[in-house]
């Protein structure tokens, strides 16, 4: 209970903090290296963060509702492999995409069933489904990735929208981002997500069908993962069993850096959106000034630690200052409610 309260105080300002950090990065970036703020480079950045942004949206919902999903990377690869496998076996590419989306929804349904109806711990069980989905990719494609996808589709993956620097995938990503922001902050679904993360029991007593709601959230995650898989497959014009390696940890790091509390119940969509863009922008700047890619890995680790430690330190300092003002509150917070 205490950690949720501290997360509240710490996180209110956090998403604005990331927004400012993004602004600073953009400004400093364009100052120190002329290549950063060019339309083509920004286009590359948008393409780089495309899939991570799509997966980060449902991941934010899951973590705010108090759950997590480590299988999104392997699920993306499974959907991509399914599309490749179907296409290689004579199914039209458009239909293959539909099959892929169904497979994506199925991966979400499996996770949703295991977590909500079997009541298993989501962290542990999605480590299991991660291995399962990755294994299925190899069962499908073995050692032969699928290439030579139809030009119309791969064209979409590579070219930009005419007269702009934005890739075609932007047409899919922008509405998803806007829809996710509306859904979380302005609809019943979003309100349910927050309160379920704070206390699933109180949510159940408020007439919220918690089990079914979280199950559908996992299915929606599966569908979003399949959209990301389509963008991924078209961008790399191929489907291979070892794709999207490590995407799950990158996505979770981005969501947490966006100010979403791992304990559930707190976070903002803007924080997550800014965070995904910021991580893409900072990588681009650092690469353009020939910052070694090893250091890049260190930077993302440091940013992640900073995103959780900083609000906590602020909160501890504040409570210590408050403590000096009035009688120190009893150190052992009373467990039971007042009777």
């Amino acid at each position: 209970m205490m950690s949720k309260l501290s997360a509240l105080r710490g996180n209110i300002g956090w998403d604005k903090g990331v927004g400012i950090l993004l602004l600073v990065t953009l400004i400093v970036g364009s100052l120190i290296t002329p290549d950063f703020a060019t339309t083509s480079n920004l286009g590359f950045v948008v393409q780089d963060i495309g899939e991570i942004m799509i997966i980060a949206l449902p991941m934010a919902f899951l973590i705010i509702a108090g759950e997590i999903d480590l299988s999104v990377g392997s699920a993306l690869s499974l959907v991509s492999s399914t599309i490749g496998y179907s296409f290689a076996h004579g199914i039209s590419f458009g239909f293959a995409i539909l099959i892929g989306i169904c497979v994506g929804a199925a991966t979400g349904a499996l996770n949703g069933f295991l977590v909500n109806y079997l009541g298993l711990q989501s962290l542990a069980v999605t480590i299991g489904t991660m291995g399962l989905f990755r294994g299925l990719c190899f069962v499908l494609l073995g050692n032969t990735p699928v290439n030579q996808l139809p030009d119309f589709w791969t064209g979409l993956g590579v070219n930009n929208i005419p007269h702009t620097f934005l890739p075609w995938s932007f047409v899919l990503i922008a509405p998803l981002v806007f829809f996710a922001w509306i859904l979380l902050h302005h609809t019943k679904i979003g309100r349910w997500t927050f309160v379920t993360g704070i206390s699933a029991e109180a949510a159940r007593f408020s007439g919220i069908p918690v089990k079914r709601f979280k199950f559908l959230m996992y299915v929606a995650t599966g569908v979003m993962v399949s959209l990301a898989a389509i963008v991924y497959t078209l961008r790399f014009a191929s489907a291979s069993p070892d794709s999207a390696m490590g995407y799950e940890l990158t996505t979770i790091a981005a969501v947490l850096f966006g100010g979403v509390s791992i304990a559930g119940g707190f976070g903002t969509m803007w924080g997550v959106i800014f965070s995904v863009i910021e991580l893409g922008a900072i990588r681009s700047v650092l690469q353009l000034i020939n910052f070694s890619s090893n250091a890049l890995q260190m930077v993302s680790g440091a940013l992640l630690l900073f995103s959780v430690a900083f609000p906590k330190v602020i909160e501890l300092l504040k409570s210590r200052r408050e403590a000096r003002v009035k009688k120190p509150s009893p150190s052992l917070a009373s467990m039971r409610s007042v009777e």
Binding site: K188, W192, V195, G207, I208, P330, R336, S337, V338, E339
Partner: protein, 495 residues
């Protein structure tokens, strides 16, 4: 008799609620002392202070002549006081031996002395007449056996003061008898026991002296030989009933809820009753008599195996709270903090969580309408707050309960089920809540109310049902119910 424990002028305040005003209690060696009082009389707060969970704002506690320092259960244990809650808080994954010696495992040299711990704990268990296996895990232990482990923990530190909070609530007859024998043998060895219970028959059978608390203060202390149940009830209730509860007579409409012998193994069996529009039906009964379990089944939070429930003529679907809510049933749950509210969330959002569909247009929540609805109900319930955006955990207990009421009454239900409407609420807000409930009933709302506060049940209800050990044992109309026959029915004393 040598006095072990002396509590004088104990006072404690939580926000607006004065849990303890002027409580005092004295305990002699070799005595079983009953501590009685209605819910909210301050018993639990006093116990928690002895358990090291709270610190008093004022007053003194002297133990064996020295001042008592409240510092966690370990601190209390080491000073010789052991408090056993109704649901003991053991370590489910550790063995019983470890639970007894938690935090201070016996060692020889550096290593834990398992043989010694197992031997000592099984000796303690046999001494208490309950040969539990010290090597089994605490997970899955019955409540009665968990209590034995807690008592064994007390004995392992030869604590001289053992406080038991409603120990017999969840015990079977022979488990209760077993516990009493243990208590008597401890008394014989010179320990002082405090026995908190509502079961007057048990108190009369077991205890030597009795102390009665009301509204945070001690009102009477007497040897058991000089009192009888009626006198005790008078002390407990004290207040005249009528002036507190302005229950206006309401026009009783047609039946809205019909419960036909529903049952759930281990919790309640063939419960049947009806609630009509404009009527307040009160359910009295002791803690653990199954009342909360019945209403959780009606609202659909829990399942039930036998029987059926019809609401407004339609058969209700089992296990579907969201459906019940849509049909027009509202449930104000027993535990405000864990079940009723989302503590870190604002007043506005808490009170509109049940209205989101009606407040939205094309799926978007209209903020203005949301704030308007919250403000409207806050005014209706005379909620004391400074901004709708404040989180509810800053409010007093009474105002928190008003937010829960706002949350549910704003769905204008046909039936309001409310569990312990005014538990832990200051007296002022209490009467406001009562007046509000009777106004809503007068407008045709059917209310099914559970309360452990006798005056509240008697003062508010048109009809009173009494439950004991999972069964409906008595049924009174308001006019012919009185504290004596209700308590008699509830506690199974010579009915």
């Amino acid at each position: 008799m040598q006095t072990i424990l002396e509590i004088h002028g104990a006072a404690k305040r939580f926000g607006g609620v004065h849990a303890l005003v002027d409580a005092h209690l004295s305990l002699n060696a070799g005595e079983i002392h009953a501590l009685l009082g209605e819910n909210g009389a301050g018993k639990s707060t006093l116990l928690k202070t002895l358990a090291g969970v709270h610190k008093l704002d004022a007053g003194t506690i002297t133990l064996f002549g020295k001042d008592f320092i409240s510092a966690g259960t370990r601190g209390s244990l080491e000073q010789g006081i052991a408090v056993i809650y109704q649901e003991p808080n053991l370590f489910p994954d550790l063995t019983l031996a470890e639970n007894v010696f938690i935090g201070r495992q016996l060692v020889h040299g550096k290593t834990v002395d398992w043989k010694e711990m197992v031997a000592r704990s099984s000796a303690l268990f046999t001494r208490l007449g309950v040969p539990l296996n010290p090597l089994r895990l605490a997970r899955g232990l019955s409540i009665a056996d968990q209590q034995i482990v807690e008592i064994a923990k007390a004995l392992s530190l030869d604590a001289k003061v053992i406080v038991m909070d409603e120990p017999t609530a969840a015990l079977s007859a022979n488990e209760t008898e077993r516990l009493f024998n243990v208590a008597r043998s401890l008394r014989a060895e010179g320990a002082a026991l405090v026995f908190v219970s509502h079961r007057l028959d048990e108190v009369m059978a077991l205890c030597d002296r009795v102390t009665i608390m009301r509204d945070g203060s001690t009102v009477a202390t007497a040897p058991i030989s000089e009192v009888d149940t009626d006198k005790i009830v008078k002390w407990m209730v004290g207040r005249e009933l009528s002036d507190l509860f302005p229950k206006a007579p309401a026009v009783i409409g047609e039946t809205i809820l019909k419960v036909e012998n529903i049952g759930r193994t281990g919790q309640f069996a063939d419960i049947s009753f009806e609630v009509r529009a404009g009527e307040i039906v009160g359910i009295a009964g002791l803690v653990g008599s199954g009342r909360s379990e019945v209403i959780r089944a009606i609202f659909g939070v829990d399942n039930y195996e036998t029987g059926s429930i019809t609401f407004l003529g339609k058969k209700m679907q089992k296990n579907a709270p969201s459906k019940a809510m849509r049909d027009g049933i509202a449930l104000v749950p027993e535990d405000r903090r864990q079940q009723g509210l989302f503590m870190p969330v604002s007043i506005a959002r808490n009170s509109t969580i049940t209205l989101l569909k009606s407040l939205s247009r094309f799926g978007l929540i209209r903020k203005a309408k949301e704030n308007a609805s919250a403000a409207e109900w806050a005014k209706k319930l005379q909620l004391k707050f400074n901004s709708l955006e404040d989180s509810v955990d800053r409010l007093s207990g009474g105002n928190q309960q008003k937010v829960v009421l706002a949350k549910w009454l704003s769905t204008n239900p046909k039936l309001l089920i409310i569990d312990e409407p005014t538990r832990g609420i200051d007296v002022g807000t209490k009467s406001e809540v009562h007046r509000f409930l009777s106004q809503e009933a007068a407008k045709g709302l059917g209310i099914l109310m559970i309360s452990s506060e006798l005056p509240e049940v008697l003062g508010m209800s048109d009809r009173i049902l009494v439950m004991r050990e999972g069964r409906l044992v008595a049924h009174f109309d308001a006019k012919d119910a009185n504290p004596e026959n209700v308590i008699a029915a509830a506690s199974g004393a010579n009915a």
